[in-house]
């Protein structure tokens, strides 16, 4: 066993030496980019695999130069991308990250879905000076608390504040006689933060809105009988829910059967994934969000058209939120590298800070945290089953610009909401 261990160690050591040749010396050599997400385990279905699919489509497009303008040149600053896929489903996330950077020679890392991963990785990215673009994770703490002066860490999606401020604005705009709200959210960081932001934003946007009941079922509970009873007995005008994936689908079926969706207007902040499959089972009037202008809520632009077509042609399914978010991170990388004319991490980092770039989900501005945190607009819509086509559609789409649902630079998300959403620009 000792021999075997030694062989492994020596082999890896040799491999590491061979790979650590500086990239800058060989400009047209492919650039190794680590692409990390959940490729196994419970989060792989809703997050990791759609993200990986998008990465394959975009990287192929970048290497072939087939993406529409402004991305119609080959490679990033002329260099091809060579992806290294690594599973986020691991206890040793930091060691895996360091192996990717120091062992496999990836100078750029893109991905991460779990907020816990992002919190753990952000300081390490700064420490080992590896350009790291967080693609999917939502916690505002990354640049508000964990790394306050980032140099190498970026995030190319808005943090979760915008989802729920957007939802609150949509409810206020579409429900003139709003008097009471309730919530059903999972009892973990995502659910707790979502409800806190939504209920606080509602209370600041309209006076005297009563909170009837707050339900916090366990994540992956799957059964919501008692929570639905509580929501029915404490009838409120609006029910907010950030349930996602299978939990959200179970809630639609169980709540629909008991008339909850007819009793109250339900907001599903991550409801987009159910639209295609559930058809008539979703009640008309349900408010649907997608954590950004993705999928059915995406804008009608050339990039989105190309992306959706390429994705559907290859995988036979529609791209979902994490697909758009991953595409966004890779296009941010291309935009910054092309602007810098270099693939050295320092040059890309300097070009990416404060950059405004185009993505299938619209225009993204790297506006917060010294240009390291993106802000983007958000769109919500109301569900309507189209009898003629036999498919679900979203009507009354409302698009909220980035400055309307994100805090200004230097202000924390929760403080911004508590302070009455000062400085919001909504046209």
């Amino acid at each position: 066993m000792k021999n075997a261990l030694r062989k492994i160690l020596v082999g890896s050591a040799l491999g590491a030496v061979a790979l650590s040749v500086p990239l800058a010396a060989q400009a047209q050599e492919p650039v190794k980019v680590g692409v990390i997400n959940f490729y196994s385990g419970g989060a792989s279905g809703p997050f990791g695999i759609p993200a990986k699919n998008a990465a394959e489509v975009i990287i192929e497009g970048i290497n072939a130069g087939t993406i529409p303008a402004p991305y119609n040149s080959v490679g990033i600053a002329g260099a091809r991308i060579e992806p290294i896929y690594v599973d986020e489903n691991s206890k040793q996330k930091v060691a895996d990250f360091k192996k990717l950077v120091q062992g496999d020679g990836a100078q750029i890392v893109i991905g991460y879905t779990s907020s816990g991963s992002c919190k753990a990785i952000a300081p390490v990215a700064e420490e080992v000076k590896a350009l790291t673009i967080f693609a999917v994770c939502g916690t505002p703490q990354i640049f508000e608390e964990v790394v306050t002066e980032p140099k190498y860490a970026f995030r190319t999606i808005s943090h979760a504040t915008s989802d729920n401020v957007g939802a609150a604005r949509y409810i206020i705009d579409t429900t003139p006689d709003l008097a009471s709200i309730s919530g059903i959210n999972q009892n973990y960081a995502w659910g707790q933060d979502s409800w806190r932001d939504f209920s606080a934003a509602i209370s600041k946007l309209k006076e005297d809105v009563e909170v009837k009941t707050e339900q916090f079922p366990k994540i992956f509970a799957g059964q919501y009988g008692s929570e639905i009873s509580a929501l029915l007995t404490n009838k409120s005008d609006v029910v907010h829910s950030s349930l996602w994936g299978g939990d959200m689908e179970a809630f639609i079926l169980q709540g629909g059967g008991r008339g909850l969706f007819d009793n109250s207007k339900v907001v599903l902040t991550v409801g987009d994934t159910a639209v295609e499959r559930f058809g008539k089972q979703i009640a008309d009037g349900t408010v649907i969000g997608a954590r950004g202008p993705y999928g059915l809520l995406a804008p009608d632009n050339a990039l989105n058209k190309w992306f959706t077509e390429a994705y559907v042609a290859r995988f036979g399914a529609q791209p979902v939120g994490p697909s758009y978010q991953t595409a966004q991170a890779l296009l941010a990388l291309k935009a910054a590298a092309d602007k810098a004319g270099s693939v050295a991490p320092e040059d890309i980092s300097a070009a990416l800070a404060g950059l405004t770039f185009e993505a299938p989900s619209g225009t993204i501005q790297m506006a917060l945290a010294g240009g390291h945190q993106a802000i983007a607009g958000i769109t919500y819509g109301t569900y309507k089953f189209d009898e003629a086509v036999g498919k679900g559609t979203l009507v009354d789409l409302k698009e909220y610009p980035a400055e309307c649902v994100n805090p200004p630079a230097g202000v924390k998300g929760t403080e911004w909401i508590e302070g009455g959403l000062q400085g919001a620009k909504c046209n």
Partner: protein
């Protein structure tokens, strides 16, 4: 106490070797060795209980308690001192296990396994639903300091690695001593025939209690060391998946020697790393196949490769394995 046996001499010789590895090998390899020392100590805690015929499916509880003791001290009071955090981890593990021991010492076999699992999942539920304690996202630890000295960023990794090696080796040697002490042999007897222990005038429950506390403390130390190496803690540390991995490592490495779980942890970590490299979305198949092959061809665990020509030891480990296997297999 001066008569060191082969294992103890081996550990003492391994310490400079381990430190040399840390300074000579590429940094990313050292990282895996570093985190494996922490998780290895928890596997060691599981192995100590297995020696007494007790399988804990909730050892992640103390892994987590150690990690959170260190993390919360940093979060609430800004503490980052290596020695202080280890002391806090030991204290937290000691207090909790001493109290829970009164409950757990009354149970054996599957009941012990399930009850330990239940307790660990209670902590998981509490931490996940508590926003003050970081919920499921957990929180980060400050950089580790040593008696007021905060090493610069260029050397902090190396210093922490060396600082981690030393308590790990000390724990291993002390546990080895414990297993060879009269109390350690009571553990063996506990597995063989509990009634006879009572006839000999000893309390079986007390023996279980002592073993439970010792395993808890060593796991807490592992939790502190692992948390400092990673710099981040979350409730996954006490999830049953994590606990089950420790049981797996203990079974696969074999329980013949305290070195086995430490080596086993490291080896399985590298198997996983290379499996992920080969197949990022189906690496579980590779790791699972390796585990199956080990169970089929090395029923006494990986350690039987090392101790193969030692007849007496062989017989002993075989018995130990045979006795502990049914619980592992059934659950």
């Amino acid at each position: 106490m001066n008569n060191l046996d082969r294992t103890e001499l081996g550990f003492i010789a391994a310490l400079p070797l381990l430190i040399a590895c840390g300074l000579l090998l590429p940094q990313w390899i050292v990282n895996y060795i570093h985190v494996s020392l922490g998780t290895g100590l928890v596997a060691l805690g599981v192995m100590v209980q297995m020696r007494a015929g007790l399988v804990s499916f909730g050892q992640g509880l103390y892994f987590c308690i150690g990690g959170y003791a260190a993390g919360l001290a940093g979060r609430l009071w800004g503490l980052s001192d290596f020695f202080l955090l280890i002391a806090l981890g030991i204290a937290a593990g000691l207090v909790v296990s001493f109290l829970l021991g009164f409950l757990l010492r009354r149970y054996r076999r599957i009941f012990y396994a399930m009850l330990s699992l239940a307790v660990s999942m209670i902590l998981f539920g509490l931490l996940s639903s508590s926003e003050e304690l970081g919920s499921t996202d957990g929180f980060n630890l400050p950089a580790t300091s040593y008696l007021g000295w905060l090493p610069g960023q260029s050397v902090s990794g190396d210093v922490l690695y060396v600082a981690t090696c030393i308590p790990t080796v000390i724990c291993a040697i002390l546990l080895h001593r414990f297993l060879r002490s009269p109390m350690g042999y009571v553990g063996e007897a506990l597995r063989e025939n509990e009634i006879r222990i009572e006839y000999l005038g000893m309390s079986a429950r007390k023996a279980v209690h002592i073993i439970y506390v010792i395993a808890a403390v060593v796991s807490s130390i592992g939790g502190v060391l692992w948390a400092m190496a990673l710099g981040h803690i979350d409730p996954e540390m006490t999830n049953w998946v994590t606990s089950a991995q420790f049981v797996f490592i203990a079974i696969l490495s074999g329980i013949g020697n305290v070195a086995a779980p430490l080596f086993g942890t490291l080896l399985l970590e590298f198997i996983r790393v290379y499996a992920v490299e080969i197949a990022p979305d189906s690496w579980h198949i590779i790791v699972g196949s390796v585990m199956l092959l080990i169970i089929v061809f090395l029923p006494r665990g990986l350690w039987s490769l090392v101790s193969s020509n030692n007849g007496l030891k062989n017989k002993f480990t075989h018995r130990v394995k045979a006795a502990s296997e049914p619980e592992g297999a059934r659950s």
